[in-house]
Amino acid sequence: MKDVFVSSSPHIHSPEDIPWIMRQVVYALIPGALVGVYFFGLPAIKVIAVSMVSCVLVEALWQKAMKTRIQVNDWSAALTGLLLAMNLPAGCPWWMVAIGSAVAIVFGKQVYGGLGSNPFNPALVARIFLLISFPVAMTTWPQPRPFFTQTADAVTGATPLGALKTAIFEHQTVTAAPPIDLMDPFLGNIGGSLGEISALALILGGLYLIIRRIITWHTPVAFLGTVAVFTGVLWKIDPNIYAAPAFHLVTGGLMLGAFFMATDYVTTPISTRGKVVFGIGCGLITVIIRIWGGYPEGVAFSILIMNALVPLINRATQPKRFGAQA
């Protein structure tokens, strides 16, 4: 009976596999990406396309060069490409995006041994690399304009968080920053990275992932909750120098980070308790950087710092064993 398969039990399997999971995350990012394209136009489409294609190409070339199986059909490189694009300003030149993609795939993932072995979130590694290498381009934010009104020259300006940081440095008060209608960052009519501008679109995507059981609610709730509570306490103490929690929740990369970056499987804790600890840590560090740090936004840094602590968190939050003696 040579055509019979023999393996260890179990002999049935849930239909979900890695490509399926990666695709679900890509689908969940589509609303956010569409908002970015709507407000930033053709440049946004270019960034997304270059990023995704470059990531897939670089991974395929690397795996071929290393003589290992080419696994780009697991969609993980494509997902990294999309996540990276969502984290970049729409005005990024194509070659910068390509460099970022190469850094994400090679130094964020492949040098550690490929999928499953990297300690840091690849898209964020690339983003921070680009931020430090090309600070001007990475902090030049095109202003949002509805799709059909875009012209060839994009007007750039500060993001809400950028304006906040400037106000604190120059005037030591947040009220000096131009006031904004919170509906704008909630819906997306605001400056920022091309994928982070619409809190609503990202929340919808995040809810899709939670309902599909791709991610659990623990990390986003812990992350967002900690930011809300921490900034809330500070705002209560002095609303002149601390912005309101609602402001902090909808601006910057928080929604993108809480639902899509801090929930990356490979670089986050494996147990539920660990995920909560991770979310809380990210929230604390994000607020600290936003309020007291040199950079206006702290989400990317906070996630990378917490990534470094994941092995420790895993050790400390092991599940309770059945029948364990006291």
Partner: protein, 439 residues
């Protein structure tokens, strides 16, 4: 709030045979009775080629307390005491081959007629042992040993396991539906042996007709409990936790928390042995799966060759795997030249679509396995240690607590054969331990 942590919900697939009444498999010309059909010390054949045997005649002598004999499934002549592939190990194992003479004549005195409730506890245990009764849920642990816990272990709970949580299988379901009295009377015998005045029969809620029938027939002292469906609720430790909220300690047994669990089929066999002296020579088996043309529930004698059973059920069609047991913990076979055994609760034939033969990739730490593990282990770490043969580190994080239920492997998106890695680590650990002992 679930009764036990972890677990998965694979598609039940019981519709294939759930509503099919038990058919009796006709007498075969040849029976291959494996000598080792139980967990424990081996038994010694006491017949040789040429001997005439009658149905129910004892063929082997147990060599130790944790050991039981096997019996002739029909009358005839011993052709030889040779070897056959054992479905559990896949290796050639001692096997007594009997040529049926067609008369199907019982051994002298059988079947008896006695009132089990006038027997003493020791007589029960002897009858159960002499009848070769073992756990028929698949584990095949000698029942007389389970029913005689050592001094110092006081038992206050008896659970009859009619849960049948494995997908596809319906043998216990049909047994409870068609022969509820046997299961209940067997339960009463077990209660007598353990000195209890109460017992619980646990059935999963996906068998409402069985629950109804058992509730109708059960006397007041036997409670019939319908449980929410979740795999692996039929696993002893999980069932005890679900019903009594007691956790069997790591490295321990149910009797350490005052509980004894018996499969429903075993209960029926206990009744047959005590009331009629009939040994365990046949059982109800579900022959199911989309790889066999005509799935059925059959009453089949131990020693029947699987090739004949499959033919009786319409033959193979697109078969990719032939499994003894259920899809989650069953053992895949590489040949049809194997005999039905006491613990064969199912013969499952899966098509390629229904099984998983894909290659595996690296662990992505998604955590699904941690959520699914009913024993609170970290299967992903165990699988990574398994790739490197690091059994010592694995033992420190609960390797030996693993019940090999398969929940982790079922959910893993990287298709990693986690249970296999764990089996590998356990084998390395045992080899090192025996080397140390022998040195």
């Amino acid at each position: 709030m679930s009764a036990f942590k972890g677990g998965v919900h694979p598609p039940e697939e019981k519709a294939l045979v759930r509503d099919k009444a038990i058919e009796t498999f006709p007498l075969s010309p040849l029976y291959h009775v494996l000598v080792q059909q139980h967990l424990g010390a081996p038994a010694r054949p006491i017949v040789k080629a040429g001997d005439q045997v009658k149905k129910g005649q004892v063929l082997t002598e147990p060599m130790g307390f944790v050991s039981v004999p096997v019996h002739a499934p029909t009358s005839g002549r011993v052709r030889d005491v040779g070897k056959m592939v054992h479905p559990v190990t896949g290796l050639l194992s001692p096997c007594i081959v009997i040529e049926a003479d067609g008369n199907d004549e019982w051994a002298d005195g059988l079947p008896l007629e006695r009132d089990p409730f006038s027997m003493a506890k020791d007589e029960f245990l002897e009858a159960i042992r002499n009848a070769g009764i073992v756990g028929m849920g698949g584990a095949t642990f000698p029942t007389h040993v389970k029913l005689s816990p050592p001094e110092g272990k006081s038992i206050d709970t008896l659970i009859i396991n009619g849960v049948e949580c494995e997908p596809y299988l319906s043998s216990d379901h049909r047994l409870m539906l068609e022969e509820p009295e046997k299961v209940i009377k067997g339960t009463k015998v077990a209660m007598r042996v353990l000195g209890l005045d109460r017992a619980v029969i646990a059935i999963e809620g996906n068998k409402p007709d069985a629950v109804r029938v058992m509730k109708e027939k059960a006397p007041r002292e036997i409670q019939v409990s319908s449980l929410a469906v979740k795999y692996p609720q039929g696993s002893e430790k999980q069932l005890i936790k679900a019903l009594t909220n007691r956790e069997v300690p790591s490295g321990g047994l149910p009797m350490d928390v005052g509980t004894v669990v018996q499969n429903a089929g075993t209960a029926a066999a206990i009744w047959d042995a005590c009331s009629s002296g009939i040994p365990l020579i046949e059982r109800i088996t579900s022959v199911t799966g989309r790889g066999v043309r005509d799935p059925k529930n059959i009453r089949v004698r131990v020693g029947t060759v699987v090739r004949d059973v499959i033919e009786f059920c319409g033959g193979l069609e697109g078969a990719a795997k032939i499994i003894f047991g259920g899809p989650m913990m069953g053992i895949a076979q590489f040949t049809q030249e194997i005999p039905v055994m006491k613990g064969t609760s199912g013969i499952l034939v899966l098509t390629e679509k229904d099984t998983n033969i894909s290659d595996y990739s690296a662990c992505i730490s998604c955590g699904r396995c941690v959520e699914a593990c009913p024993m609170g282990l970290i299967p992903s770490t165990l699988s990574k240690l398994g790739e490197r043969g690091m059994w010592e580190e694995a033992s420190k994080i609960g390797l030996m607590d693993c019940i090999e239920c398969g929940c982790c492997t079922y959910v893993c998106p990287a298709r990693r054969p986690i249970v296999h890695f764990i089996k590998h680590l356990k084998a390395l650990s045992r080899a090192a331990a025996s080397k140390k002992k022998g040195a």
